[in-house]
Symmetry: C2
Subunit: 206 residues, 2 copies
């Protein structure tokens, strides 16, 4: 019905916006209408960015981070100020951005490319785990920080990884990100699992 009310080009754009994650029909309408209201040039810039995306972005063959098509390896790996003996293992490339924003980490990253999820048919063999083992050996890695998500899948993946590395006979420190109360959250609103983690991981002050 909506095809009759709105011009086809706008309906098409609404449908395409609606295919982005978490974008419902009303939000898609709002984006499409905003794209129409502003200068054509601005919408064309978004179009160009979308068109060029796949050919200009590739995956680093060592860290599996996203890199420029002109780069051979991730700049976060080739940077000599970075400690290659310390690897932070994440599920997705965008997790790297979140960690880099802290400005606290001077090691390198390894993107698994997801988490183990039997429901979605993702087993350990689809993740970049053999390549991680390779790196541990090649770069003489002394510590890996497992920074998978705090979801069931993230937890299983962390557990799997820990066992896999131990069974491979590699001796290095394996750590995980601390779980606890996030900043700005009142104790009374924290869920019980988070609170259990916070109790478990409590730090002695003196």
């Amino acid at each position: 019905m909506s095809t009759h009310i709105l011009p086809k080009a706008l309906t098409t754009l609404i449908d395409e916006f609606g295919s982005l994650p978490g974008v419902g029909p009303r939000t898609a309408e709002r984006y499409a209408y905003a794209a129409l209201r502003r200068e054509a040039g601005q919408s064309k810039r978004l179009a160009q960015a979308l068109n060029e995306l796949h050919q200009r972005v590739k995956t680093c063959p060592v860290t599996f981070a996203l890199i420029d098509e002109s780069d051979d390896l991730s700049p976060l790996y080739t940077d000599s100020r970075r400690n290659r003996q310390l690897i932070c293992v994440v599920e997705e490339p965008l997790d790297i951005m979140a960690l880099e924003r802290t400005g606290q980490f001077d090691g390198t990253y390894h993107v698994l490319g997801g988490a183990i999820s039997p429901i979605d048919g993702i087993g350990p063999e689809q993740l970049h785990i053999p390549e991680l083992i390779e790196r541990i050996k090649n770069d003489g890695v002394t510590e890996i920080i497992i920074a998978t998500n705090a979801s069931v899948e993230g937890e299983s993946t962390a557990l799997f990884l820990q066992r896999y590395i131990q069974e491979a006979g590699l001796t290095l420190t394996i750590s995980r990100l601390a779980r606890g109360i996030p900043v700005g959250v009142d104790l009374e609103y924290a869920d019980q699992i988070t609170l259990s983690h916070a109790l478990e991981g409590r730090r002695t002050l003196s």
Copy 2:
């Protein structure tokens, strides 16, 4: 800093998505990453829809609704089943979609192109009010329903329009959408202005 962490093409796309209304940096990242993860063809379809948008959509010269570039007038105006003597006046083209979804209205629409807002420098002269007066005369309009937003600007616009039509010496019914408690909202959560409107507009049942 983020330019070094993520490939340029992805950063560009994140910036462009971020220019859409209500899209913050994290949401823009999520959209851009989703665009990268899925097939290139799907992202190119969104790009194409954006590229064609401005040349394929135009404004109806009578109703100011958005129409296909191949149409002369809005199909909602030319449709013979539509009552041209009844006009629903709205602020923006997308408001038409919201009203059409009800399936309750068989009149035609008139898009003002905004609402009176001195802060934003929008006066009545920037709205399609003279064209509305023209239509009222040409089509022998018997009723206009003012369906501006329930905001300060929408209210002022409605008031201005009402006076303007009366001062033009046109005799026709002018109505407004009812204000009251929306479906699914508990009385205790309704704000006092909405409740005042609901009391004022109460309907006698027998």
